[in-house]
Each structure stands twice: as C-alpha cells, then as structure tokens.
C-alpha cells in the first residue's frame, strides 16, 4: 500500500528534480516559449514543499489536493493550472483513504491526466505535457519503471512534432525540432514517482 509518506516523498522528489533540471527546462522553453518554465516549476514546487510542511496533510489524497491547489496559486504560468489540476484531480480521486493501492493510484492518476486534457483542450500529438503523461499513465498499469520509460520516450517523441497548443503553436513549423518543455517536466514528475517507489519500497 502507498501511504501518506510515499506521497510526501514523491512531492519532495519532484521538488528536487525541478530544482536540479530548472535550467534545462528554461532552456527548452526559451527555444519555443517564454523561457520561464524552469523557474515557474521551481517556484511552484518550493511552495508545495512549504505548504506540505506547514499544513501536514494526513492522507495521500489530501497531500495531492493541497499540492495541486498550491501550484495553481503560485506558478503564474500555464503550467500552474495544468499541473495543479493534474495533482488535485488525482488527489480527489484518491478520496480520504489512509493508504491506497498501486492500482488505485494508477486509476486516480489517469483521471488527473484526463482533467489536464479537458482543461487545456490538447490531444496526443499536439506537442504538450499530454505527450508524456498519456503514455506514462497507460504504462503505470504495468509498473512504475515502465511508466517512467514510456513518459521519457513520450517527451523525446515531441521533438519532431509541430505544436498545436499554447504559445509554441504561434511558431508553426518553427516549433519542430525542439523538445517540449511541458512534456519534459511531465516525464520528470513520473520519473520521481518511480524513484519514490523504488527508494521507499512503496509497499507490497
């Protein structure tokens, strides 16, 4: 079972990962966006770390709902409402159970990803976060490691795509040849989920 500590570890690992990769995310965003994705994600997850410390939520669902709400209120760019919705919807789907199964998390995360699609109106192949999240969540039914691999492959696969959503879509064909920053950070989020599972021994 995945308990509240597992979800705290996941959020801490995500904060550490966006910290570590901030420059790379911003560099990718400077090619096809407005060069703030790394710093936005850093600010958002630093605020998540702080609020989890302060409010000390007691269930997996509460951790993710609080983290999501914090991202919406602190990021300042489109990634705030998108990642905020992803975590919050996943958290709501987990309800108030004190611990959840891998299967429950996979299903809840799938509903979070669906909410991201609904909010942003993007589809697979549009060169967005969804190009990492959709294959990632599909593979999550198999294993955490498979989800990480699928999400990373999905992010890499955005390189030849032409952006059809968000600011990069204004670039038309010039968006081709660059990896999408949102897909890259989405792959990071899923990689930290796998990392938290492997390190912490998420349970049986």
């Amino acid at each position: 079972m995945l308990d509240v500590d597992f979800f705290r570890r996941w959020m801490a690992a995500a904060a550490a990962a966006v910290d570590r990769e901030a420059d790379r995310l911003t560099e990718l965003d400077s090619a096809i966006g407005d060069a703030d994705h790394g710093s936005n994600m850093q600010r958002g997850f630093a605020a998540v770390t702080a609020v989890l410390e302060k409010e000390d939520p007691q269930t997996p669902g509460a951790v993710l709902v609080l983290a999501g709400r914090q991202l919406i209120s602190t990021v300042g760019g489109a990634s705030g409402p998108l990642y905020g919705t992803l975590l919050r919807r996943t958290g709501k789907a987990l309800g108030d159970a004190p611990a959840v199964t891998d299967q429950q998390l996979a299903e809840a995360f799938a509903s979070g990803v669906a909410a991201v699609g609904q909010l942003g109106g993007a589809q697979a192949g549009d060169k967005t976060m969804l190009d990492a999240l959709l294959p990632g969540v599909e593979a999550l039914g198999t294993s955490y490691a498979a989800a990480r691999e699928a999400a990373e492959a999905g992010a890499t696969a955005t390189v030849p795509m032409q952006a059809r959503k968000g600011r990069a879509s204004y670039l038309g064909e010039r968006s081709i040849g660059h990896q999408d920053p949102g897909a890259t950070s989405s792959a990071l989020l899923i990689a930290t989920l796998a990392e938290s599972y492997e390190r912490g021994g998420g349970g049986s």
């Binding site: 919406i72 300042g76 409402p81 968000g166």
Partner: protein, 136 residues
C-alpha cells in the same frame, strides 16, 4: 442608475497595466453610466507578467454583489487559471463565470450591459457578441 445589485466584472490579463487600462477604457466608454463594479487582475503580485490566482480571487471578492460575476481573460495561463479556479468550486464566489469574449471589446460591452442592469446571462451575451464586431 439602478438601486439593484449589479453584475461584477473581473478583467484578467497577463499584464497588470493592460488589465488596469482596459478597466479604465471600459469605464470611460461607458460614459458616465459605468455604475457596475469592475476590477482588474493583471500580472503577478510582484508586478511581473503572468497570472495570479490570488489577484483574481481578490478582484472577484471586490466586485461580488451576489448577482454574478463575469470574468474576462486574455490568453494562455489567464484562461487556464480561471478555468482551474472555477473547477475547484471554492476559490471564486458563487456566480462567477468565465465569459468567452474578446478582451477589450468584450470588457466594454460587459460593463455597459452590467451598468444598465443586465443580469449575468445578458452581460455574458453582450460580451460574447463583441466577437462579431468586424473592423473591415
């Protein structure tokens, strides 16, 4: 001027000066008839470009008369932030609605209609109709 409560208008832009200026423009063009409350929520709290859920919630509270709030947005994160806040259910007052409208023209139409005593549906319709205002 009506004694009735009027629909509030919130203008959300990536830029503080843009939101403030559009609010001023709408009030000016409503020509003395601008009695409905309008508030700007532009940029980040530190004055940079971006969208702030905090400023949006504050602006909405300021204009809330209990009969509805029309929220107009420019693009990107402004649209997504308001949608995400509405989906949450408790971050904006009851009766707040994202209105699909061009930012400047829609703001003028919304404020004039709200000031004339139009309800939220009328304000929304007037703002959305502004898409049909052709310039050529």
């Amino acid at each position: 001027m009506s004694e009735e409560k009027q629909v509030g208008i919130v203008l959300v832009s990536h830029s503080g000066p843009v939101a403030e200026a559009v609010a001023e423009l709408a009030k000016g063009l409503a020509a003395g008839g601008a009695t409905a409350p309008v508030a700007a929520a532009g940029g980040t709290p530190s004055g940079g470009l971006g969208t702030s859920a905090e400023l949006i919630a504050e602006a909405a509270r300021k204009v809330d008369g209990g009969v509805g709030i029309a929220v107009l947005v420019d693009l990107g994160s402004a649209v997504l932030t308001v949608k995400a806040m509405l989906a949450e259910g408790d971050e904006l007052p009851d009766g707040a609605r994202l209105v699909d409208a061009p930012f400047v023209e829609g703001a003028v139409a919304a404020l004039v209609t709200a000031s004339a005593g139009g309800d939220l549906a009328a304000v929304e319709a007037a703002a959305t109709e502004a898409y049909g205002y052709r310039k050529l």
